[in-house]
């Protein structure tokens, strides 16, 4: 209570910031998986003209500065931008879009390398056992599950710690688009260092708990 009294936040506001953080990051990683994994699988298994160009773009995007991603999304979502009529600027959906753009190349790139690290003959063996293309992909994903979980962890780690894009696209609106990282920036600017540190510890605890869960699944499967 003392902590809350020293700040301008109520307990329910603080809880809401945590929940918003979890909501946007989990939604964004879900979409990043839906976009990135099929892309990574396709890049690992298919040969097509222009594949090298796609790979180069993807590798560049893996290292894309989040603030650039945020700027591009904001420009697209601004009222005068091409997607302005969707009214997504300064919304949680806008943040999800930006974070998805940041995490997807990471998930795609690491998925591709997870599949490519499997023995090339494994693919032939699965087909030789009579698998359809879809059945083959399922088996390969199952075989690469440890590396795939690492891909998800890397993507999630990137977006939960992200601040620049979220600030630009979300606007850090109190009670709406404020997440832990943007709240930390704000409190630091205001000189509330202690509270910023508390928020930082909460953020780290969240990241730790989520990664602990994923690591548990990963290592349990390894043992099994």
């Amino acid at each position: 209570m003392l902590l809350i009294a020293q700040t301008t936040y109520t307990a329910s506001e603080l809880i809401e910031i945590i929940l918003v953080t979890l909501q946007v990051t989990s939604t964004a990683i879900l979409f990043a998986i839906l976009v990135g994994m099929p892309l990574g699988i396709a890049l690992a298994l298919c040969e097509f003209p222009g594949k090298k160009v796609v790979l180069t773009v993807m590798n560049t995007c893996m290292g894309l500065p989040p603030v650039i991603a945020g700027l591009m999304v904001a420009m697209a979502l601004w009222r005068s931008g091409p997607l302005g009529n969707l009214a997504l600027i300064y919304t949680r959906t806008g943040i999800v879009i930006a974070q998805c753009i940041i995490a997807s190349p990471i998930v795609a790139g690491l998925t591709m390398s997870a599949i490519q690290q499997l023995d090339p003959n494994l693919r032939k063996q699965v087909r030789a056992l009579g698998a359809t293309r879809l059945q083959m992909v399922v088996v390969l994903l199952r075989e690469a599950k440890l590396a795939l979980l690492a891909a998800i962890m890397a993507g999630y780690g990137r977006i939960i710690a992200e601040v620049g894009a979220v600030m630009i696209v979300g606007g850090n609106i109190r009670g709406d688009t404020r997440v832990l990282t943007t709240a930390i920036v704000l409190e630091t600017r205001k000189g509330n260092f202690e509270f910023a540190i508390i928020l930082g510890l909460i953020l780290m605890a969240l990241a730790f708990t989520i990664n602990l869960g994923l690591t548990h699944i990963q290592q349990k499967r390894l043992a099994g």
Partner: protein
């Protein structure tokens, strides 16, 4: 004779400009094992991949029951009548039982049918006690058995094996070969077996084809291949030790063949440049000159003695270095030593003229 279970017609494949696989005709028959032997890089594995529809040839066709197989769903349905095991067991990171059930689940067989078939094949290959073990914890021999059970469980019409006994110790290999051959002979499976191991090929196959640089250079029974190689390459590859370029001169009854500084006698109708091969086990050694019907008798000096398991290769220089195979007891009886003078003899019929 039964119709072939699988035929390959005019198969042509190119890796790059340097390697071309060119096989005009290959047939695999039910209940028979066709062995493909050849050195590494001769195209054996590529041929298996093409015939098992895992790789598309540049041209040519794979024919099943008189019908050339196309692509797409047709290829999948035909591939489901095949099974392939590769050099590595390539087991999935699941239990042994789940591994063996994989192909049946791909075919969406009922749970009851899957259970019955998996249990049956685990029993047939003597690995039922391993059913719950994670496949990645198995020894090499166990993993190979699981890989074979996983392939055979779906009752294939054609069974492809690409170096399936590689890296196994001798007793494990011999047991597995024996059991697998019994399984194949009891069923209607047509088997194509690829190896670079001549002994494996001789023991396991009903017929053999020798591949060299993408082409089948000789086909026949193992006895034919090993006793009558058609080229110096085949002779060398199947392990004929004494193979020499020679010149056959015309003679009414038998040929006198000039072999370096010596002349030997052999029954052949060939005249001119030839190769001759003499199997080491067909050459006799003696301390004294013996009276015999053998037409080729020479005296020479032992230059090398090399041990090979329970036998010895003795190289005797008679103007050319001829290798003879003797048992340990013969070696001791004759007191064979390096630089010792010795008589050797072999029949004219022991000389194979290529």
């Amino acid at each position: 004779m039964k119709k072939p279970a699988l035929e390959g017609h005019e198969i042509l494949f190119r890796y790059d400009s340097a390697f071309v696989l060119d096989v005009p005709l290959i047939e695999v028959f039910p209940r028979k094992v066709l062995g493909i032997i050849g050195p590494n890089g001769s195209g054996k594995s590529t041929l298996v991949k093409i015939l098992s529809l895992l790789e598309k040839p540049l041209s040519g066709s794979v024919v099943i029951e008189g019908k050339a197989i196309g692509g797409g769903r047709e290829a999948l349905s035909v591939r489901r009548r095949f099974s392939v095991v590769f050099q590595q067991p390539l087991l999935f990171n699941r239990s042994v039982w789940e591994n063996v059930a994989t192909a049946l689940k791909f075919r969406k067989e009922s749970a009851e049918s899957v259970r019955k078939k998996v249990d049956l094949w685990l029993r047939k290959l003597g690995i039922e006690q391993l059913a719950e073990r994670p496949a990645r914890t198995l020894s090499g021999g166990e993993a190979r058995r699981v890989s074979l059970a996983r392939s055979l469980v779906c009752d294939p019409k054609v069974f492809f094996m690409d170096e399936p006994f590689a890296n196994l110790d001798q007793p494990t290999k011999e047991n597995l070969m024996h059991e697998l051959r019994s399984i194949i002979k009891e069923s209607d499976i047509a088997t194509l077996f690829v190896t670079h191991d001549r002994e494996e090929a001789a023991v396991f196959s009903d017929t053999l084809s020798v591949m060299h640089e993408g082409k089948i250079v000789q086909s026949g029974t193992p006895v034919e291949i090993f006793s009558q190689p058609v080229s110096p390459f085949v002779a060398d590859f199947v392990g004929v030790k004494n193979i020499f370029p020679a010149y056959a001169e015309s003679n009414l009854n038998e040929q006198n063949i000039g072999l370096g500084s010596i002349r030997i006698t052999a029954p052949t109708d060939k005249v001119g440049p030839v190769h001759v091969s003499i199997r080491p086990e067909d050459i006799l050694l003696s301390r004294e000159r013996v009276q015999s019907s053998a037409r080729n008798v020479f005296r020479g000096r032992i230059t090398h003695i090399r041990r090979r398991e329970r036998t010895f290769y003795i190289t005797v220089d008679i103007g050319i270095p001829l290798v003879c195979l003797v048992t340990k007891s013969s070696k001791e009886e004759l007191g064979l030593k390096k630089n010792m003078e010795i008589w050797m003899l072999f029949k004219a019929t022991s000389v194979h003229v290529i």
